[in-house]
């Protein structure tokens, strides 16, 4: 590494703190230490760094480049030095990226990207490396280790076995995570490049997973428990999902009682959405999609032998949050005091047809208080129990007291 490269590195670190520096001055300070006083480059860097830090009253810059960090503790904005093992390498998405993958130590794992511009040495899968002066950035809501022109990479001999720590699904954060989970649902793939998608669950909850098509990638077996090491946790619209392409997954013995993400909510139904009431469903085995009024299924086209169903898509509002809810037939029948058979009869004998059922269901529930419970999924509460709220005189007494009974 040359003097000017080191000067650049120092300047960048200081500038990251919002102070501008003169690179030539930095370089001449370094040169003076190295050439005139025979100080080695690493020591010169440390000295100039801490001089500048003192001069500008900065904290957290001096010395950080050689201090070791645990991967688990890394936060965006830091310059760090880590030692870790390459546990995944992904195909480079662009010529400007030399390598990308996942590096792990005993505390955790992080995604990394090495830019081609810095000419980084090629790292090998399974090998341990010491990475000095890398930067932690945020990429799609997750910390990401960036290897740039000022980063030094050296191999480290280590035979420490690396045991990934398993995270409960409810505690996953964007980044990299290892889970022990069961495949609870297998969905139709929505894209040509997708190998498999579905739902994984452990005791604490469930999460969507995706495997993209790639040589050597295998599907997960249904209802099987897997140890999944170093999957990528993505966040999209506030929801997390697991991408298994970087991960190693090994089927495991035993079973898991999958937790149900059960949530409850009380409030008023303030909106009944189109698509509520009586609907028609596609009769093709395993399809069950909602048909249009003209009996058209987006996949199986015209289906004259549809079957009827009742459902309610609505918004339950508690005054601080408006939640989308979806209620299935048996509960809609109860809330609207209307069975599916009666609804079909109404639709077939009324000039308004299915609209009449919508109006009846809507009139029965709109503007009323309910307590519902179910699984929250995809930003929507899938209701499996729901009852009208009833007036509680104790609540009235409590509120009268709160409002100040003595003033009356």
């Amino acid at each position: 590494m040359t003097l000017s490269e080191v000067a650049e590195r120092i300047s960048q670190k200081i500038e990251a703190k919002g102070v501008s520096v003169d690179r030539q001055k930095v370089e001449s300070k370094l040169r003076r230490l190295v050439d005139e006083f025979g100080v080695n480059l690493a020591e010169a860097e440390r000295t100039v760094m801490s001089d500048l830090a003192r001069e500008h009253k900065l904290t957290g810059v001096g010395g950080t480049s050689t201090e070791m960090h645990r991967i688990h503790d890394l936060v965006p904005g830091e310059w760090v030095t880590i030692e870790g093992k390459i546990v995944a390498l992904s195909p480079s998405p662009s010529p400007s990226i030399a390598q990308n993958g996942i590096i792990a130590d005993s505390s955790g794992a992080i995604r990394f990207v090495a830019w081609s511009r810095g000419n980084p040495p090629e790292m090998e899968y399974g090998q341990w490396y010491r990475i000095e002066s890398a930067v932690i950035n945020e990429y799609r809501g997750a910390p990401n280790l960036t290897i740039h022109s000022g980063t030094t990479i050296s191999t480290v001999e280590s035979d420490v076995p690396l045991i990934p720590s398993i995270t409960p699904i409810a505690e996953l954060r964007p980044g990299v995570g290892s889970v022990r989970a069961k495949t609870v649902q297998d969905w139709d793939v929505t894209h040509d490049r997708m190998l498999q998608t579905g739902l994984l669950g452990d005791e604490t909850g469930t999460i969507k997973f995706v495997i993209w098509k790639e040589d050597g990638k295998e599907k997960l077996e249904p209802d099987t428990v897997y140890n999944i090491y170093y999957a990528v946790v993505d966040e999209y619209n506030g929801r997390l999902s697991l991408t298994l392409n970087s991960a190693m997954y090994i089927a495991d013995e035993g079973d898991i009682e999958v937790g149900r993400n059960d949530t409850g909510a009380s409030g008023v139904i303030v909106h009944v959405a189109p698509g509520s009431g009586l609907i028609k469903r596609c009769p093709v085995e395993g399809c069950n999609r909602t048909l249009s009024r003209q009996n058209y299924c987006p996949v199986h086209e015209i289906q004259p032998n549809f079957r009827y169903d009742l459902r309610l898509k609505a918004v339950l509002d508690d005054g601080t949050r408006a939640r989308n809810i979806l209620i299935q037939r048996d509960i809609v029948e109860e809330l609207a005091s209307l069975t599916l058979e009666e609804a079909i009869e109404v639709a077939e004998n009324n000039p308004l047809g299915m609209d009449e059922v919508f109006i009846r269901v809507s009139n029965a529930v709109l503007g009323r208080y309910y307590t519902c419970g179910g699984n929250e999924f995809d930003g929507r509460l899938l209701v499996n129990r729901c009852a009208p709220m009833t007036f509680d005189p104790a609540e009235l007494a409590l509120l009268l007291n709160r409002a100040g009974g003595e003033t009356a």
Partner: protein
């Protein structure tokens, strides 16, 4: 975090008594965009883009020749709300058309402040939906609104919106507690 996509979230319907809404005269828009939501700042210190009221529809009027719209009054224990539904709210208009006052109704709508020609400001609620409910729902709403109003008064000065409300309205918390108390005591008359 800053560049994270913000997914669309429906504005909650705030619970507010008529006599608080009558005092409301601050209206503002968040953001420059044409579609940015408009809020009114309630004196108890929270912004409202949408509100829920449950009360008695005491009268309704059909007005206009070409552009038909409905006006109505909905009374809660503290006073009347003014509601309206025009041709931009066809469903709400048809719903009102079917209801004969007096009736207990639940109204979800957007509050709007208008300047009258004589310089007074008038708040009316543009109805999104109106439905007939029963007395128990009305009582539940009074409890709900009492609780939310007391919560807001207790949180006065702790949020940005409530600090702004304190500057704009300089309300007396004891008057609002009295209003809540009076509303609650009418439940079992």
């Amino acid at each position: 975090m800053n560049r994270r996509q913000i997914s669309y979230e429906r504005e909650p319907a705030r619970r507010v008594f008529a006599s608080e809404l009558r005092e409301t005269r601050v209206q503002f828009k968040e953001g420059e965009d044409e579609k940015s939501p408009t809020y009114v700042l309630l004196p108890s210190g929270v912004r409202a883009n949408r509100i829920l009221i449950v009360g008695t529809l005491t009268e309704k009027q059909r007005q206009g020749d070409q552009n038909i719209f409905y006006r109505g009054r909905v009374a809660d224990p503290t006073g009347p709300f003014f509601i309206m539904a025009g041709s931009y709210q066809p469903e709400a208009m048809q719903q009102i058309a079917r209801i004969e006052p007096p009736a207990f109704v639940a109204v979800v709508g957007k509050p709007n402040i208008f300047e009258t020609p004589d310089g007074k400001s008038l708040l009316s609620i543009r109805v999104e939906s109106i439905s007939v409910v029963d007395r128990e729902t009305r009582d539940l709403w009074v409890l709900d609104t009492a609780r939310d109003t007391l919560d807001r008064i207790d949180a006065m000065g702790t949020t940005e919106d409530s600090q702004r409300a304190q500057e704009e309205y300089s309300i007396k918390p004891e008057l609002y507690r009295k209003m809540v108390y009076d509303a609650l005591s009418q439940i079992h008359l």
